[in-house]
Symmetry: C2
Subunit: 490 residues, 2 copies
């Protein structure tokens, strides 16, 4: 196991915190709750962005950019929204500093108070719908399919790197439609995009569902979600797509002339995923030796480590390593040749294991002579000697094999840790042990909240297109029409 | 000329403001001084980002992300920096809103006052060097070559879309080095990168120079810059690269053990370009008909407009247009087929001219019959009938020809509007008329400020590697050792 890395069994939470820092993904900054995303972590985020951005564009979306600041009064316009978002937020009240006349350094200039405070966006529905009012006159202006990549701020009291930070990076899509059906279809389409991205790129199997009224986005009529199961048995909401109805159009007076020449309010969706996905990625696959990265989003897919005892051996192994690097790169792989002379091979092995590089190639002088290479897989922690001849094709194939294996392993874990329960004792016991619990629910917020109070489990989602069946609510004993999914969650 | 677009001659400033809005690039938002970058404008910015990001990575840089907020006290640590930046800025003082107990809606919660105010970053040297302190122990940790793509806020009093906005988007590189020479070389290398980007991608010829002490970045020892000339004869600083010496390392106590095992302060650079480049792009090339975009960063490179009088003609011209689109896209071009049925061809022509699409292809029924296509160039506003056969190759060649022509035109304008003057009268007269003036300067800030006071012209730059010659300062009449460049500027 990696040096100084707490094991998952010892303390899962500390293992996570340790790993994020030691693998050079992110660290706390001098500003409470705000993180620094380090180059290695940011490179992973860039691969995520790139894949998502292409999927958004392939489904007809365009990017735009809206202001960081939102006038305070905007939040008051949508009643649920202000409750959900405007409370814990960063408030800009002044626009100038000055030298303290009493010599106390730089202080806020009391004369530079803003007439209306500005809120650093926690999400952008309000400012965007205020803008859309001017963009939309007739049905010909619809749909509008905009996305923005941005930073947002929510003043969280307890923060954790990637999972819950005061500032985080995300994308937020905001679309406008001429009718309900099209808006619902859009919200569902983006849930499909998120599902494909989570499963194909991040190798994270996700459940797809819709939130209960209590867990809905503030201002939405329906919140669709993808939910993943972490290795400690807690669920993590990995992405949401909201059908907003006409709420924001009404709040910001956005109307259009329909084909019948009548004024109607516009229909809306919004959808987002954030740097929280980094947390989901880490907690889905990594182990006590460090990160395990799916090849598709690994900044380095192959690391080559030459082994030598003297200058002559160094020359030939590094030369062979450089050749191999070139060939692998020509095949489209991201490769690093670790020819640092101030670190021992063992140190290098551990470092790249910690950083989750999917494949390690080791080349010693004998390998060069005999035309072999030692190939190690990070996902299995296995080693195998292969022929140098034809290695590029083999390693290329390995990328998909590793991607698939990581996904399958996570899928098996998720399936093995989803439990159907029918009694309240079994429910409590299972929630205590961890995992996702599938149980009958009577459909009331009252019961949902009682369950949360007694077990800390939340209703994660109602399955999409749930089929009705008759049963008894696991908590209240009242008649229930469907099974839904509960878990403790991040 | 485009409908409702003020001409440059009539009112250059209004022409610019009109054009930015009418070409769907950006607009004012509800928040004072903050703009909305609309999808068409943002698409151009994305091409800029993509090209720059590749150039940064090709020169060994990596991306990272640092916090939006900076503790107020950080600014006090570097004396020049606080003067330059901390004064006009957005200050976060509270972290919570509450319902007004007197029923006045949502108000700031007085109990949620921050212990120390946070500044929304106007630039990130301080927070980044506070972070680097923990990243750097020995010379082996150097160099650090980080860049970030981010939003920044400077509380400008008079704002203009893209040119000067309270919030803008940019990239800021922040590098750390073991010695002065390497840091200077880095600052110069990035100036080269910016030059290449401006000239090859944006088709904007730039002068390269170094700022006078008075115009330097707050905290820098040297500020290198690229300067462009706009069509109204004013200069625009298009990018800067700063050699920061050890100033920030000293302010944030960042030291490293050198090869001789001695502790030394780290050397620094920072460099950035912003959405201001959008303003430079627009003002360099556009005309009274609208935008003129260099093909390399045009979101749409070719627009195809079918012409028809009835359904039958519509079918055949649109079919031909669709074929052509497919072929052009297969050749790597970005193409739009404008087959809207609710707009006349003339309207479409004007719209795409306004939006600066480099090439328009018009296909009427006779063209389909005779195997021809009308090809119009936006840069020359010229039309030519070409054979359908072999058109893809011709249009592909046109892209480079247009790119080159736009650059050459701007270069000729720039050269024709750079004037060497030797007397104060000639200086004043030329500055009044516009253009860049090349004149002897005695090297003092005093003279520089006097010139600014009397003419509004600023010292734009001292040429790189300026050769000393003996002369007389154009203003003070004192002995001068070099000619430098003055202009009124954005």
């Amino acid at each position: 196991m990696a040096k100084d890395l707490t094991t998952r069994k010892e303390n899962y939470s500390q293992w996570y915190n340790n790993l994020v820092v030691k693998a050079d993904l992110a660290e706390q900054s001098a500003v409470r709750g705000c993180m620094v995303i380090k180059p290695y972590g940011y490179a992973i985020w860039e691969f995520m962005q790139d894949a998502l951005d292409k999927m958004f564009k392939a489904t007809g979306h365009v990017n735009a950019y809206f202001p960081l600041f939102i006038p305070k009064s905007f939040f008051g316009r949508e009643a649920d929204h202000v409750e959900g978002f405007a409370k814990e937020c960063a408030v800009v009240t002044h626009h100038r500093l000055m030298n303290d006349p009493n010599g106390g350094g730089v202080v806020v200039d009391p004369d530079a108070k803003l007439e209306e405070e500005l809120i650093v966006r926690p999400t952008s529905e309000t400012i965007i719908w205020d803008t859309y009012r001017n963009w939309i006159k007739s049905y010909r202006d619809l749909p509008i399919l905009c996305n923005q990549w941005a930073n947002v701020v929510r003043w969280e009291m307890r923060t954790r790197l990637f999972l819950r930070t005061a500032e985080f990076l995300w994308q937020e899509g905001h679309t406008a439609h001429a009718d309900r059906e099209e808006a619902v279809a859009e919200a569902r389409r983006m849930l499909d995009v998120y599902t494909e991205f989570a499963e194909k790129w991040l190798a994270i199997p996700v459940y797809r569902g819709v939130k209960s009224a209590n867990e809905r986005f503030a201002g939405a009529l329906d919140t669709y979600c993808i939910e993943a199961l972490m290795q400690d048995g807690k669920a993590l909401q990995a992405g949401t797509s909201h059908f907003l109805g006409q709420n924001f159009a009404k709040a910001f007076d956005v109307k259009f002339l329909n084909k019948e020449n009548k004024l109607e309010h516009v229909w809306a969706t919004s959808w987002g995923v954030s740097t929280r996905l980094m947390g989901a990625l880490i907690m889905s696959h990594s182990d006590d030796d460090g990160l395990v990265l799916p090849p598709k989003i690994a900044p380095i897919q192959v690391v080559i480590v030459p082994i030598y005892k003297n200058d002559e051996e160094r020359t030939i192994t590094c030369q062979r390593g450089a050749e191999l690097k070139q060939q692998l790169e020509a095949a489209g792989l991201r490769v690093k040749l670790d020819d640092r002379d101030n670190q021992k091979p063992g140190y290098k092995f551990h470092e790249w294991e910690l950083k989750g590089v999917p494949v390690r190639l080791v080349i010693g002088p004998r390998d060069v002579k005999e035309g072999t290479v030692e190939v190690a897989r990070r996902d299995l922690m296995s080693k195998e000697v292969m022929a140098y001849e034809g290695l590029v094709a083999k390693v290329t194939e390995l990328m998909q094999a590793i991607q698939d294996n990581i996904y399958q392993k996570a899928l098996n874990f998720r399936n093995d840790n989803t439990f159907e329960v029918d009694t309240w004792d079994a429910f409590k016991e299972q929630i205590e042990k961890g995992g996702i619990v599938h149980a009958f629910w009577d459909g009331t917020t009252e019961t949902e909240l009682k369950i949360k109070e007694e077990t800390k489990a939340t209703l994660r989602f109602i399955p999409l297109d749930v089929k009705e069946e008759n049963g008894t609510d696991v908590y209240s004993g009242k008649p229930a029409k469907m099974r839904v999914y509960f878990a403790k969650a991040y």
